[in-house]
Structures are given as structure tokens and as C-alpha cells.
Amino acid sequence: MKTELNFTDHDAFYERLIAAHHGLDEAQSAQLNARLLLLLANQVGDGAVLAECVDAARRLFGPYSPPEA
């Protein structure tokens, strides 16, 4: 998992992401995020990197038990 900056233009990305949520209600925004998540995950592809990302995102909320492979 990359933790150093890897965007070609991070500010532009952030602004675009916010813009994409514009005019959506909470449910639609959640749906947009979920779609985006799956699209991005497919760009990453690598299972080990994705697992690290999932774990890193979850860290805020304490431990969880990943499914047995």
C-alpha cells in the first residue's frame, strides 16, 4: 500500500470528487461512493494491496475479523 503522495494532481481530484457529490442526497452520495470504491479497487487489482487498504480504513473503528480464506 502506498502511503506517500501518489496523485498527479491531488487538489484537482478532491475538488472533482466533491463536485460529483453535488446535488445528491445522502443515499445517492453513499451509492456514488460505493460505485467509485469498486471502480478504484479494480484499478488497484492486487489483492494484498487491497487487503491492506481495507484494514487501514477500518483501523479507526477497532479490530475486526477478516474472513477465513
Binding site: 451509492q31 460505493a34 469498486l38 479494480n42 480464506a69
Partner: protein, 567 residues
């Protein structure tokens, strides 16, 4: 799981007579080499396999017919590896004639197809990827075959009610219409299904996990021609946006399987008029149909820690249970028998050590674990357990309509393939680089020219001959003398052949279509030896082989070891 009978649906099933066995009146307790408990898919496949290998068995079953009482069918989809075994056992032609061959599967959300596969493109086997057939027909064919071979003592209406482990076997108490008796067995194969009495007597933990999902099957007969494909709706508008299966079986009967809400009143939804109304919503008001059978079910996952407990071996649902998604239950029970049969036969004849039987559990338990994991993932996709899960599923479905990658995420069942023994599942996904089958993987039943000049398929080499088949390719003639000596010495357990060209003086296996060479990963001019086990899984692949290396690989295989590539 409960199975409720509605009506026989026009199926006329055989009933088998109970014949009082001599044990009932004998003065002493009789002892048998192998007793199989349960005449379901697993028990019958094992009895049939052992009979083919010349091993006599006693089979005890508490019922006097095939299938589940009430003429229902549970399993419907039989996968290629199962069908290949049935070819070896001599009943494939009947399955082919009665069943429905299919290869296209579609996943729908609403009225849109979001995912589609055609399994026929990856197959060089004589057997198609799948045949649909009511489970009781397959059981019926196996019973007929077992009777035809004539080595199996099939005892109907014989319920195991007592079980005691002995140092060298077990003592079993049997209840029959003519009273109780006791018999002893050197080896017991428990194939008595998900509620196994023997397993529970031995207090083996099944690590049970029950699913909350509820389903209701409605098998129907109707004239409307539908495509002979497997259709699965993740969200069917005609079933309150819950899942539905649509699949053709033999006798023009369709399996329609409806997902119910978790809180459903099962009694109510299985009432014929309620079931008929559901079917009408799917097919339309003006389609005439006949309800053949209605039955609700739920599922659970179970897995015991070791499929061998001394002289008792566990096969099929008694060892492992899973949800039906992906048709893995019956197929894996049959493949348990495919794995165990030859091992038990070799141990009984003294040609292999008892340790070989440990490899049965070592190989089949990971296969079951893999099946449980795979079916669990499907179950979870079909029954999201939280709003967050539902959100992710909605995202996957909506993306699937636009982007190919997301179609694969719509998991309505991953149909069963044969398992690759001895490899962690992760390396399975990565092993595309390897040419030909990997060690531990099954070779498909590809066409070959048999040594007697007949056209045949790989399975033909495994019918009556000795256990293993060894194939030489590109061998140096200088090895001939040592190889022939080896061939003579190991003849009872190993039959050796040469691929395409006689350099060693062994019989020649022709490969006119090049399918076997491709399956094995043969390379022109490169000397390679392949050792195939009786279940057609590759036991060893040896580059630059000689008689000593082959002999070592065979010894290893007789101890249940696979020879890693390039070892």
C-alpha cells in the same frame, strides 16, 4: 432442512426389497472388510467404485428407495469431474441420455442480464461442463450398476442405531423390519448425510454455522419453451426483488427456486396454492403449468476436523455441508468417493500402507473448506446482512450493466471445478503460467488413441487396469531395459505407456488431436514422465525421467504424496 412431499409429480421410483441377512440368525457376529453406511450419492458412488475395483462391500441404508422420500429432488447439477467418474463407472451414457446438457449461465437483475458465462469453451473433455439431472435418477443409475457388477451387498431398510469403535474396526448395530443385529467391519465409510448418527456417536465437532436465508423450491412442468440455460436473478421483480433460480432438469421439469424473506412463514409459502401463485407471477397468467414438487429449505455449513477417525472414514454431507449455491454438495461427496475408492482398495490388497488413507482427509478436507468458503461468499452476496452490504451489492449490480469487471462481482454461484490437491488456493489463481496441468490437478477426459488401436478417451485407461497410469514422452531408448524391468515389477499398480512414439518398447498411446499433450504440457523433444493417479489427478511430473525417479514417485504416491514440480 425439511423436505415436504406434495405429490409424486409423475415420477415412479423403484422400491427395493428388504431381504433378511444371514446375520440375523447367525450364532456369531459376522465381520466384513468394508461397510458403507448410507446409500445416497456418496455411499453409492463409493460402493460402485469399490465394486469396479473388485472390492466387495456391505451397504446399509435406512430407506428402501432412492432419493428423499416424497419424490423430491435435491441436487440437480452434476459437474464435469463427477460425470467423468460416472463414465469410468459405466453409467455416463444413461446420465447423458436422461439429463440436460448445458453450458450457458446468466445472471439477471430486473430484466437485464448483468453477467453471462459459457463453460463449454474451456473444455476438451468427453463430458460437458454440466448435466442437470434429478438427484434420484443418478442414485438410481448407480444402484442398477452396483447390482449389475454384483459385488455389493445392498441392505435396504437397515438403519444404523448403534456404533462402537474397535481397535481394528467397528461394531455396528442395525435395525431392520425383521429385528436387530450386530455386525463388525474392518473399515466403515460413513456416508449417512448431514445428520450422521455415527459422527455424532464419536462426538466429532461439526463447527456448525446456520444460514438465515430461506428458500422455497417449486419444480414445475410446462410447455413454454425457455432457453436451456441457467438463469439466476439477484433481484427478481416477480419475487419482491429477491433471488430466483430457473433451471431445466430431466422429464421437462424446471427447477424454480425462490428466495424468501428471512422471517418467512415456511408452512405458508410451501402451500401448493401459494407456490402456484409465485410461479404464475414468474411465468405469466396464461402459461399452463403443473407443480411437480414444492419444498422449502435452509442451509448450514458444517465441517469436521478430520475425515478419518481411525478405521472410520467420512464422506459427503456427513463430513461437510454447505449451501447449495454452485452445486458443490453432491459433487463433492462423489469426488470424496473418487478420492477414497482407489486408496482403500490399495490398502485392502496390501499394496499400499494405511498411511495412504490419511491423504484422503488431507486432500478432501481442504477441498471441502474451499467449497464452504465459495458457497459462503455467494450466500452473502444473495443475502446482504446489513444496509452497508446491500449498498455495495447495489453498486456492483449497477456497475455491471456498464463495465465488464463488475459483472464478475455479481456472485450467484461459482460452479464446481475439480480441486487441485496439495496447493494453497491462492496459487491456483496464479498458476496460469504453468504449462499443462499442475501436480495435484485433475487431467480432463480428453480423446486418445488407445493401445489396442481403438479411439477412446483417457478414462478408458482407468477402467479395469491396475491403479496408476504412467506416460512417457520423448524418452531416450537407452532407458528401455530399466523401464521394462520396472514395468514388469510394478504391473499390479502401474501401467506405463508411451505418448505417440515407441522408444522404450511400451504400448503406445496416440494423441491424434494433440489434446492429451496439451493437457499434460508435453514439449517436443523434451523427455517428461507423468504419473496419473486412479482418480486422474496428476501425482508427479518428472523432467528427464529415468526408472529410478519413476519408482520413487510411485512409492511416494502410494504413501499419498504428490511430487512437486521440478523436485
Amino acid at each position: 432442512m425439511s423436505d415436504t412431499a406434495l405429490q409424486p409429480g409423475g415420477y415412479i421410483l423403484p422400491e427395493y426389497e428388504f431381504t433378511a441377512p444371514g446375520d440375523l440368525t447367525a450364532d456369531e457376529v459376522r465381520r466384513y472388510p468394508v461397510v458403507i453406511v448410507g446409500a445416497g450419492l456418496s455411499g453409492l458412488a463409493l460402493a460402485c467404485d469399490l465394486a469396479e475395483r473388485g472390492v466387495a462391500t456391505v451397504v446399509l441404508d435406512d430407506d428402501n428407495t432412492i432419493g428423499v422420500r416424497g419424490a423430491s429432488s435435491r441436487g440437480i447439477v452434476y459437474a464435469q469431474k463427477t460425470l467423468e467418474m460416472m463414465d469410468r463407472l459405466g453409467i455416463y451414457e444413461r446420465i447423458r441420455a436422461k439429463g440436460v446438457v448445458w453450458s450457458v449461465g446468466k445472471t439477471l437483475a430486473g430484466s437485464e442480464v448483468v453477467y453471462e458465462f459459457d463453460a463449454s469453451s474451456t473444455s476438451d473433455s468427453r463430458q460437458p461442463p454440466f448435466i442437470n439431472l434429478q438427484q434420484f435418477y443418478l442414485e438410481w443409475f448407480m444402484v442398477d450398476r452396483v447390482i449389475e457388477i454384483g459385488r455389493t451387498d445392498l441392505r435396504w431398510k437397515s438403519k444404523v442405531v448403534g456404533f462402537e469403535t474397535l481397535a481394528d474396526g467397528a461394531r455396528i448395530e442395525v435395525e431392520t423390519p425383521a429385528g436387530r443385529y450386530v455386525l463388525e467391519a474392518d473399515w466403515v465409510c460413513d456416508c449417512s448425510g448431514v445428520n450422521s448418527f455415527i459422527r455424532d456417536c464419536l462426538r466429532l465437532d461439526t463447527h456448525q454455522a446456520r444460514g438465515i436465508d430461506r428458500w422455497c423450491i417449486s419444480d414445475v412442468r410446462f410447455k413454454e419453451p425457455l432457453p436451456i440455460e441457467r438463469w439466476t436473478w439477484v433481484e427478481a421483480p416477480f419475487n419482491d426483488n429477491r433471488a430466483v433460480w430457473q433451471h431445466l432438469m430431466a422429464d421437462d421439469v424446471w427447477r424454480l427456486d425462490f428466495q424468501m424473506g428471512p422471517e418467512t412463514d415456511i408452512e405458508h409459502v410451501s402451500r401448493p396454492e401459494v407456490a402456484a401463485e409465485r410461479v404464475r407471477r414468474q411465468l405469466g397468467e396464461d402459461v399452463e403449468f403443473e407443480l411437480v414438487w414444492v419444498g422449502p429449505y435452509s442451509y448450514r455449513a458444517q465441517l469436521i476436523d478430520n475425515f478419518r477417525a481411525g478405521r472410520t472414514l467420512f464422506l459427503g454431507d456427513s463430513a461437510h455441508a454447505m449451501s447449495p449455491f454452485g452445486a458443490r454438495g453432491g459433487n463433492s461427496g462423489i469426488q470424496d468417493a473418487d478420492n477414497l475408492g482407489w486408496k482403500l482398495a490399495l490398502v485392502l490388497s496390501g499394496r499400499a500402507p494405511e498411511a495412504l488413507l490419511d491423504s484422503y482427509s488431507a486432500e478432501r478436507r481442504p477441498a471441502a473448506q474451499f467449497n464452504i468458503m465459495t458457497t459462503r461468499r455467494t450466500a452473502r452476496f444473495l443475502q446482504p446482512e446489513s444496509p452497508a452490504e446491500k449498498l455495495l451489492r447495489d453498486a456492483a449490480i449497477s456497475l455491471a450493466k456498464e463495465h465488464p469487471f463488475a459483472r464478475s462481482l455479481c456472485n450467484t454461484g461459482r460452479l464446481s471445478n475439480s480441486y487441485i490437491y496439495g496447493q494453497p488456493p491462492t496459487s491456483r489463481a496464479q498458476r496460469h503460467k504453468v504449462r499443462g496441468v499442475a501436480v495435484g490437478e485433475a487431467v480432463q477426459n480428453v480423446p486418445v488413441g488407445l493401445p489396442d488401436g481403438q479411439a477412446g478417451t483417457l478414462v478408458d485407461l482407468f477402467r479395469n487396469g491396475p491403479a496408476f497410469v504412467g506416460i512417457w514422452s520423448g524418452a531416450l531408448p537407452a532407458l528401455a531395459a530399466a523401464v521394462i524391468r520396472l514395468a514388469n515389477r510394478e504391473a499390479p499398480v502401474l501401467r506405463m505407456l508411451e505418448l505417440g512414439r515407441a522408444a522404450l518398447g511400451l504400448s503406445v498411446l496416440e494423441d491424434p488431436a494433440g489434446k492429451l499433450g496439451a493437457a499434460l504440457g508435453a514439449a517436443r523433444g523434451k523427455p517428461i514422465f507423468w504419473l496419473l493417479r486412479p482418480d486422474m489427478h496428476l501425482a508427479a511430473r518428472i523432467e528427464n525421467p529415468d526408472a529410478a525417479k519413476v519408482s520413487r514417485a510411485l512409492r511416494g504416491a502410494l504413501h499419498g504424496r504428490l511430487q512437486p514440480e521440478r523436485a
